[in-house]
């Protein structure tokens, strides 16, 4: 059984879903039994959500999407033209 210090140390990895199954069980057991750690866990989780949701409101400008599609088309033509073309060589 882990204590509050262990739980606090494991909390970020727990929120990141990067703990082993064994450690997840340990943290869950502790959170079920310890109100103080549960509050902290809920707070940290809500903070993560706030940062993620608010920051994800911003996306790339539509003009960038258009610009990239155009740039890749130019790059495609450039790559195609730089490749030796046997047929064109025959005609020449």
């Amino acid at each position: 059984m882990i204590n509050c210090g262990d739980c606090a140390r494991a909390l970020n990895s727990y929120l990141d879903r990067e703990l082993s199954d064994e450690d997840i069980v340990q943290v869950r057991h502790h959170l079920d039994a310890c109100g103080g750690c549960l509050y902290l866990y809920q707070f940290e989780e809500s903070l993560r959500r706030l940062v993620r949701v608010r920051c994800q409101e911003q996306g790339a400008p539509e003009s960038l999407r258009t610009r990239i599609t155009m740039t890749l088309a130019i790059e495609r033509r450039r790559l195609e033209q730089s490749r030796p073309r046997p047929r064109a060589a025959d005609i020449d």
């Binding site: 879903r17 509050y39 706030l50 608010r54 400008p61 890749l72």
Partner: protein, 230 residues
């Protein structure tokens, strides 16, 4: 052109195959455009440089797509190209990063700030932090030293795993974890500073008094203004 690419170019069958492959690159890469742009914006802290950086990175990715190993993580590979392009082309012209004043922040700083007097807070929505709009939160992330900033962005905004961030930023997984550990502590301090700068935390009264509607309203306005970061 390297020997492998030259060999392929001489193979007539490769032309169409390569074109189809590159078309697939464009489709797959554009799915990650928002995430790439947001991350580029945190790296360059400038919308115009961020757009150029994403474009340069995607052209590089397009050119070298034949080096991507199918079945491995495409998203991490894209972010790796973004990181490398930034380091090679953009970081130099941005000069030395500002010294951060955020060192030595205690862990769970915000929870401790907001939970005094024996009253526990379990949701940021019940606190002044809920009034921080996207711009303020992004400014807080921008306060972090560059390597922490990118790592925190990739983890806490874009949702990459430790292994993906390690691949994207070219460091060991243990380094990702220590950067996250320190970066998140500094972010908590920076968020607090943003709340203070906005006048949300003057005095000891840090909880909202049923004012969340006002808070959400102003956040909506800030969020819609989108593009401008500074």
């Amino acid at each position: 052109m390297n020997a492998k690419a030259a060999g392929r170019a001489n193979n007539p069958a490769h032309g169409e195959e390569a074109a189809a492959t590159r078309a697939r690159f464009e489709e797959e890469a554009l799915k990650h455009l928002d995430a790439l742009y947001r991350t580029a914006l945190r790296m360059t802290r400038n919308p115009s440089d961020a757009e150029d950086l994403v474009q340069d990175a995607l052209v590089r990715g397009y050119r070298f797509y034949d080096r991507f190993e199918p079945g491995t993580n495409f998203r991490a590979w894209l972010f790796k190209i973004l990181t490398n392009t930034y380091i090679n082309s953009y970081r130099r012209k941005q000069g030395r990063p500002q010294e951060s004043s955020l060192e030595d922040t205690e862990e769970f700083f915000l929870y401790n700030q907001l939970s005094n007097d024996g009253e526990r807070v379990t949701d940021v929505e019940d606190t002044v932090l809920d009034r921080l709009g996207a711009d303020s939160i992004q400014r807080a992330i921008d306060q972090l030293p560059p390597q922490f900033r990118t790592t925190v962005q990739l983890s806490d905004v874009e949702g990459l795993s430790y292994a993906e961030i390690a691949e994207a930023t070219g460091v060991a997984k243990g380094t990702v974890m220590s950067r996250l550990f320190r970066g998140r502590r500094q972010l908590q301090r920076a968020l607090w500073d943003q709340a203070q700068a906005a006048g949300f935390t003057s005095g000891s009264k840090v909880h909202l008094d049923g004012a969340s509607e006002t808070g959400n309203g102003s956040n909506g306005v800030v969020a819609k203004s989108g593009g401008g970061v500074r």
